[in-house]
C-alpha cells in the first residue's frame, strides 16, 4: 500500500495542489482525471521525485506504513511524452531503467529481449525510436517502465497521443499485460471512456488549487464494461468535472 499524505505543491504566490492525499492498493488501475492544468502531472512528478525547479512541495510518502524517500525503486514513472532516447535502439531504451539501477548490459538484455514478442515489439530490438509507429513507441515506453519491476507504476496520459483505434487496442493490450504481471497503476487520463473502461477506481481532481473531490470505485467487471453499461458513470464524472470547472 502506497500512501501520499498532505501534498501541497506551490509556485511562487499560489498553490497548484493543496493538501492532497491518496492511497494506492497493491493491485488494480486507479485513474486520475481532472481538468487541464489542475495539477495531475505535478502530483505524478512529485511521486516520481522530479518536481520541476521553481516549485515548492510539502508532503509525505509512505510505503506499507513506513516513510520512503523519492525517487524510490518501488515506483516507476512514465512521462506524458514517451521520452524514448532517439540515439538508443529499442532494446537499449527498454533496458534503460535496469542499467541505471546498476544491472550489467548482458543481464539486462537477457531479461528484456524475451518480452519483445508478448509486447508486440518482435523484430524491433535493433531499430531506433524514429523508425517505429506511435503505438509501437508507446509499447516500447511501457516495456521500459514494466521491466523495472516496481510495485507501483505511474502513467501520465499513456495513450493520449494515439489515434482512436490504436488507443483502444493499446488499452486492451495494457489490461492483458497487467493480468500477466499484476501491478498497481496510477494513470492520468483525459478520456472518460478510458477511465471508465480500464480503471478499478477513479479519482476526480478539481483545479485551482488542485485537490481530490471524488473517489469512485468501479466494481463492474472488465468483461461487462461496454459503452452503454458505463454511460451513467461517464455522465456522473462529466457533471463532477463541469461543476468543478467554472466557465
Amino acid at each position: 500500500m502506497l500512501e501520499l499524505r498532505g501534498l501541497t505543491v506551490s509556485a511562487p504566490g499560489r498553490d497548484l495542489v493543496q493538501d492532497l492525499s491518496l492511497s494506492l492498493p497493491d493491485q488494480g488501475i486507479t485513474a486520475l482525471i481532472g481538468p487541464s492544468g489542475c495539477g495531475k502531472t505535478s502530483v505524478l512528478k512529485w511521486l516520481a521525485g522530479i518536481l520541476p525547479v521553481g516549485l515548492q512541495a510539502e508532503g509525505a510518502l509512505h510505503l506499507d506504513g513506513r516513510p520512503i524517500p523519492r525517487p524510490h525503486p518501488a515506483l516507476s514513472y512514465q512521462p506524458q511524452s514517451d521520452a524514448l532516447f532517439p540515439w538508443l535502439t529499442i532494446a537499449e531504451n527498454a533496458t534503460l531503467g535496469l542499467r541505471v539501477a546498476g544491472m550489467g548490459k548482458r543481464e539486462a538484455q537477457a531479461k528484456v529481449v524475451p518480452l519483445f514478442d508478448p509486447f508486440g515489439l518482435a523484430g524491433t530490438e535493433a531499430l531506433f525510436p524514429a523508425e517505429l509507429s506511435g503505438g509501437m513507441r508507446q509499447r516500447a515506453a511501457f516495456l521500459r517502465t514494466i521491466v523495472q519491476d516496481s510495485r507501483f507504476v505511474l502513467l501520465d496520459e499513456p495513450f493520449s497521443a494515439l489515434d482512436a483505434v490504436t488507443r483502444i487496442r493499446m488499452q486492451r493490450w495494457l489490461t492483458d499485460r497487467l493480468r500477466e504481471r499484476p501491478r498497481a497503476v496510477l494513470m492520468v487520463t483525459h478520456d472518460l471512456h478510458e477511465a471508465t473502461g480500464l480503471a478499478d477506481r477513479i479519482l476526480v481532481m478539481a483545479a485551482a488549487p488542485g485537490r481530490i473531490v471524488a473517489d469512485i470505485p468501479v466494481p463492474t467487471p472488465q468483461v461487462r464494461r461496454d459503452e452503454a453499461a458505463m454511460a451513467p458513470l461517464r455522465e456522473t464524472l462529466k457533471s463532477l468535472l463541469l461543476e468543478e470547472t467554472p466557465t
Binding site: 516507476s76 511524452s81 538508443l88 541505471v100 525510436p129 524514429a130
Partner: protein, 251 residues
Amino acid sequence: MLSRVLTLLLPFALLLAGWEIYCARTGASPLILPPPSRVLTALWTERAAIGGHALSTLSVAALGFSLSVAFAVLTSVALHFTPWAERALVPVFVVSQTVPLVALAPLMILWFGFGLLPKVLLVVLVTFFPMLLSLLSGYRQTPQAFCDLLAAMGAGRWTIFRRARLPAARAGFLAGLRISATYAIVATIFAEYAGARQGLGIYILSAKNNFRADLVLAAVLVSAALTLTLLGILHLIARATARGPMDRSDA
C-alpha cells in the same frame, strides 16, 4: 549523387572559366592577376616545395585541433558540473574571441618563439571556443523529459549527464567541430605568416615578397584543399559514430 556533385562543382567551374576569360581578354599582368591555368601550372612545377609546406601546416593544425577538441570536451564537462565557474568563465572566453588574429599571432610568436608551441596555442585559442559553446548549449538544451526519466529511475547527476546530456549534445557538437575545423587551417597559416621556418603561411609570405602572385594563389588553393580534407575526415567520423536515423541524416 552525380547531380549533387555537379551542383557543387558548377559554381567553381563557372568562376574559374570567367576568371580565365577575363585575364585573356583584358591582358591583365600575370604578376597581379595570373589566370587559373597559370596558377595550376605553378602549383605543378612547385609541387614538391608546396607539398612539404602543406604537410607541415596540416600537422600543426591537426595537432592543435585535436588538443583543442580534448580540451573543449574536458572543460565543458568541468563547467557543466560547476555552474558558478561557467558563469564566471564564459564571458572571459567570449572576450578572448574578440582579440583579432592579426594581433594574436605575432604576440604568440613574441612570447613563445618560432617553434611548434605558439602555432599550436593559436590554433587551440581560435578553435576551442566554438566547440566549448556548442557542447555547453547542447547539455543545457537536453529535453527535460529525458533528464526527468533518468532521475525518476534513481540516476544521479553524473548518470544523467552521461546517458542523456552528452549524447543529446552530439549534433550541436558536430556543428561546432565543423566551424572549428575551418578555423584551424586559417589560424595555422596566420601563425606561420607571423613567423615560422616551415608551412604555407611562410611560403605565402615569401611568394608575395618575390611578386609571385601565382604561387600565393597556388598555396591558397592548397590550404582550401586542406580544410576540405579536415571537414571530410570529420564527416567520416560522424558517419561512423552515428546512432539512429536522425544522426545519420545530419552527419
